[in-house]
């Protein structure tokens, strides 16, 4: 695009982000502060993920962008069009064909492969933020590995509801050290973080933090012996592809209580339907 550098960001900004990314993979789960820049899209709409993608993307990459698991949601369409415009890269909806996948709120159902990079858009990177609003305090808690309050919070849920009431952005511990927010993915996706063959990068633009999980890294979801971590399940199968292993979106079909359940991952669902037909 005329007047803008390849992938929009100037080279100095990319270098700053690249240096921060190397620190992030060296200290898995630690939130590295970085000099986040304004992007031509609103904060909260994926500017952190976009800055990371812009800093790693090359001319021979194949980019996939999903939001809620789907390639065709408006924000995914908008971000994909942005990178087509400013970087001229090839884009795809096919998970295995992508070298870089930017995502909001989901990890694809199709298992990721070595060499792939998944870039998460993160709204609030601090897993302790809703327990302790002050950045100065939470920074100290991470430094001292003081994570008791997080377990207390989860346990209060159990006392009140009989269950841990966190269903997305469910906190994890990375390589036995840092408690980390995996971004608002459903806890259904948490097991995919553990020993993932792909590199996982997380970018929070407004909060100016980035973090990473290298491939093959231990990632445990916080839980209790008497209340082990569990993921969502559905009685139904996907109404379109009949999968009983994917995360299902509920779709309201009429105003008389009619509803159906379909895969949130559109590429996975379409691929299965291609195979089935």
């Amino acid at each position: 695009m005329n007047g803008y550098n390849f992938a929009y960001l100037d080279e100095q900004t990319k270098r700053m982000i690249r240096r921060a990314l190397l620190k992030a993979v060296a200290i898995p789960g630690y939130q590295v502060p970085f000099g986040g820049r304004e992007m031509p899209m609103p904060y909260g709409w994926g500017t952190g993920g976009m800055q990371l993608t812009a800093s790693i993307l090359g001319a021979d990459d194949v980019l996939k962008v999903i939001d809620q698991g789907a390639d065709d949601t408006t924000n995914a369409v908008s971000i994909r069009a942005f990178f087509e415009r400013v970087a001229g890269v090839e884009t795809t909806t096919v998970t295995p064909a992508a070298s870089v996948i930017q995502t909001r709120h989901r990890i694809p159902e199709t298992p990721l492969e070595p060499g792939q990079i998944l870039v998460f858009q993160v709204p609030i990177p601090e897993p302790l933020r809703f327990i302790e609003p002050s950045e100065q305090e939470t920074r100290l808690m991470h430094a001292l590995e003081e994570y008791g309050v997080m377990h207390v919070k989860l346990y209060e849920d159990i006392a009140r509801h009989g269950h841990i009431a966190t269903t997305y952005a469910y906190p994890v511990k990375v390589d036995g050290r840092y408690v980390m927010d995996p971004s608002p993915i459903p806890k259904f996706d948490n097991p995919k973080l553990d020993m993932s063959p792909a590199l996982l990068l997380f970018g929070a633009g407004r909060e100016k933090r980035l973090y990473a999980i290298p491939p093959h890294t231990r990632v445990e979801s916080l839980d209790f012996e008497d209340h082990p971590f569990e993921i969502q399940r559905w009685e139904q199968r996907c109404a379109l592809c009949a999968s009983d292993k994917s995360f299902l979106d509920e779709v309201i079909t009429d105003d008389a209580g009619g509803r159906m359940f379909v895969c949130s991952d559109t590429d996975y669902c379409l691929t299965r339907r291609g195979e089935l037909s």
Binding site: P184, R206, K208, D249
Partner: protein, 380 residues
């Protein structure tokens, strides 16, 4: 039968076309020109420049036009453009004492060297709608009678000569640059003033107001408010001296606040400071109040009001950040919502089972179709 919604791309393109049409409005009317906005909506232009941290009246006017007058959208447009600009040089510190004054008032002394100069102000206008403007009546030109004002000494410097007010010192350290470095709380005053200078005017106004109503009161006097033109100088290596590269309009507010002092230091007035591009007087007053409130910890005052809590005030002052994050609630959250639905239905099912004492197993991780179908319309 449900059909997956496709065509997000087309929907977005259509939305952009509609937006452009609404922005243009009735084609019977002449299109608003950027120089009209720049010339006649100058206070809007100044606010956009201040909160975007970019001094460019023409582009600020363009942003206002493009944003259909949505000020936060205009700030965002200009801010996003600013990010792409190269940094060619860093100016010398601006000398507001050498300002070419257009307006200058002090609330602390009746008469001051250089005089009280009202300048263009809405202050003493009676807020009566002027129907002449509706009838497109022309405004007569101002008769320029007096010679341009001489530079006026700053009021707080006069107090300083007597030792009555704390002295601001330049310790020579490199100030933070909030446009390049993430905030590292607690931030120093240089970073704080930068964050306040680009902070949302309405937000600062409310916080400043709250200190006047007792939530962190700091006994302010408007020591001096001045606005006018200030020269921007850049040190040229090849000439070995600073050269003027132009003038910008600035508003400055120096607030005088109640004493500090200790066993060692004699009591002195303290300061709050506000600065903004263009004619942004209200912004600088609010900024000075909040700056002073945020000095509570440094001055050993109890922290009693929201305006005194630095991390809270500063982390939420940027309207581009705030607007983005609030409006991101419009983005799809199907997946998270589905996760919550699944849990809520399970909790309600278990609650019902306990209430009826039917002995249904609590903690079953699966939902049944029947209960799912019953849940939404069920008032129980």
């Amino acid at each position: 039968m449900y059909v997956a919604v496709k065509g997000g791309e087309r929907a977005i393109a259509n939305a952009h076309r509609l937006l452009a049409d609404r922005r243009r409005g009735d084609r019977e009317q002449a299109e608003l020109e950027v120089d009209q906005i720049q010339g006649q909506l100058r206070l809007a232009v100044d606010r956009v420049m201040s909160e975007a941290s970019l001094y460019d009246p023409e582009l600020a006017a363009l942003a206002i036009k493009q944003a259909s007058g949505d000020m936060i959208e205009a700030v965002f447009l200009l801010r996003a453009y600013r990010t792409t600009l190269p940094r060619l040089a860093v100016s010398e510190p601006l000398d507001t004492g050498a300002m070419r004054i257009e307006r200058r008032i002090s609330a602390t002394y009746k008469d001051i060297p250089g005089g009280q100069v009202l300048g263009p102000t809405y202050d003493y206008t009676h807020r009566l709608l002027d129907f002449l403007l509706l009838a497109e009546g022309e405004t007569p030109p101002v008769e320029s009678s007096e010679p341009p004002l001489a530079p006026c000494p700053q009021i707080l410097e006069l107090l300083d000569a007597e030792g009555l007010i704390e002295r601001e010192r330049d310790d020579g350290s490199e100030p933070a640059d909030i446009t390049r470095d993430p905030p590292d709380y607690p931030v120093d005053r240089a970073a704080r003033l930068q964050m306040l200078a680009r902070g949302d005017e309405g937000y600062l106004l409310a916080l400043g107001y709250s200190t006047q109503r007792g939530y962190g009161r700091n006994h302010p006097f408007a020591g001096e408010i001045r606005l006018g033109q200030v020269e921007v100088e850049i040190f040229a290596e090849e000439w070995g001296e600073a050269v003027c590269v132009g003038e910008i309009a600035l508003s400055e507010c120096q607030m005088i606040n109640q004493f500090g002092g200790s066993r060692e230091a004699a009591p002195q007035f303290t300061r709050g400071y506000g600065l903004a591009f263009g004619h942004s007087e209200r912004k600088t007053l609010a900024m000075a109040l909040v700056d002073r409130a945020l000095r509570a910890e440094e001055l050993g005052e109890p922290i009693q009001g929201p305006a005194q809590q630095a991390e809270f005030v500063l982390a939420h002052a940027d309207n581009v950040e705030a607007s983005g994050f609030v409006s991101h609630l419009k983005l799809p959250h199907y997946v998270d919502f589905q996760s919550e639905l699944e849990l809520l239905r399970r909790l309600r099912r278990e609650h019902e089972a306990r209430r009826q004492g039917t002995g249904q197993e609590a903690g079953s991780p699966t939902s049944t179709t029947d209960e799912r179908a019953a849940a939404p319309g069920d008032p129980a």
